[in-house]
Amino acid sequence: MSKPTEHPEPSFNTHVLDEHQKYFTFFNVAMALILITAIELVIVYLPINIMIVFCALAILSMVKFLAVIWWFMHLRWDRALCTILFMIGLLVATGTVTALLFMFEVDPNGAPM
């Protein structure tokens, strides 16, 4: 919040300056996102152990996910409440998806079609 201070306001708006700083942050994040996507695209073709690639993919996309919500979606600069609200949904969803996936097994008969 811009508090009314006793000191005279500087002639330029600090708020604008902040936003200007963000430009560079956003640019770096965007570059990182592209880089990670490129890495993801490459490693699936590399002859490495499947589990390692799988974990790498999971971690990399998690990093992308968090980068977007943290910087692009402003959570870094916003009230913690926004993060909490979103995390409630994200956690319940993640838990549900995981539990569901564990409860299904490969069908021994194969598909009917």
Binding site: S2, H15, A30, I34, K64, V68, W71, M73, A111
Partner: protein, 266 residues
């Protein structure tokens, strides 16, 4: 109202809630939490059937990872542009905001185009339809729902773009860089389409799209007249809210890209 308060940023006034988060923004975050469950359900439906029938289809025979990789790149970039849009909106810099907003919309449109191409390719060349197999059902429902989200986002952002335009056409030239922005936006798509036509695929569909857009855009400018001139600095919050939605659609795609496409190549 004292003088101090009168000069305060109207956006700050909206923050005067118990939590310091504006109502619209809070509702949007709650909606996104809820949307996590939407996509969670769709993604689990898809993955469950992949788990049950691991060998029934070989998605790598169907997917084109180059196209999807490109789409992902496009959507990530649109997210970047969206972040810049919101930033300029808060700065009150209308000119750069329009540029970035148009960029976001354009990239969103390209993503959608890619998806339409992908779907029609799968249907016509690979024989994968909604009803051809469980894989088709889950795949199309999941990616289609995501596509609808993108389309709604494009629509929503476009509404705000039109709202930033001056009320009268005669005022357009007085706005910094506006005519250039509009013209670029108008011809960019047809140029790309014509290029695609010559380089990639001699299909008249591309030419039709190019021609269609050339006609459609002026029509859009006309029918959105009631929207024009409605944007003011307070609406930076609305743009930010729309932006949150847009980024969310992007992160959902990050998950889909990995969980639905990439892992199939392992």
């Amino acid at each position: 109202m004292s003088d101090l308060a009168a000069h305060a940023d109207p956006l700050e006034e909206l923050k005067q809630t118990n939590t310091g988060v504006e109502n619209k923004k809070m509702a949007m975050w709650a909606f996104l939490a809820s949307d996590c469950m939407f996509f969670g359900t769709l993604i689990s439906t898809h993955l469950i059937y992949r788990k049950i029938y691991p060998t029934v289809v070989d998605p790598t025979q169907i997917f084109s990872i180059e196209l999807t990789g490109f789409s992902s790149f496009i959507l990530l970039m649109s997210s970047f542009l969206m972040a810049l849009t919101v930033s300029s909106a808060h700065k009150g810099n209308l000119t750069s905001m329009r540029t970035f907003l148009l960029g976001t919309i354009l990239f969103g449109g390209v993503f959608l185009g890619g998806q339409v191409y992908e779907f029609s390719h799968f249907v016509h060349e690979k024989g994968l339809t909604l009803s051809s197999s469980v894989f088709g059902s889950t795949f199309y429902t999941l990616t289609g729902t995501h596509g609808i989200h993108v389309a709604l986002g494009v629509f929503w952002l476009a509404m705000w773009f039109f709202a930033t335009l001056p009320k009268k056409f005669s005022q357009f030239t007085r706005e910094e860089r506006l005519p250039a922005q509009l013209i670029t936006f108008w011809v960019a798509l047809p140029v790309v389409m014509v290029l695609v036509y010559f380089i990639h695929h001699h299909s008249t569909a591309y030419l039709l799209i190019a021609a269609g857009w050339l006609v459609l855009f002026p029509v859009l400018m006309l029918v959105t007249t009631p929207l024009r001139g409605r944007y003011s600095h307070v609406n930076a919050l609305d743009v930010e809210t729309a932006g949150l939605y847009w980024h969310f659609v992007d992160i959902v795609w990050i998950i889909i890209f990995t969980a639905v496409y990439l892992v199939e190549y392992l």
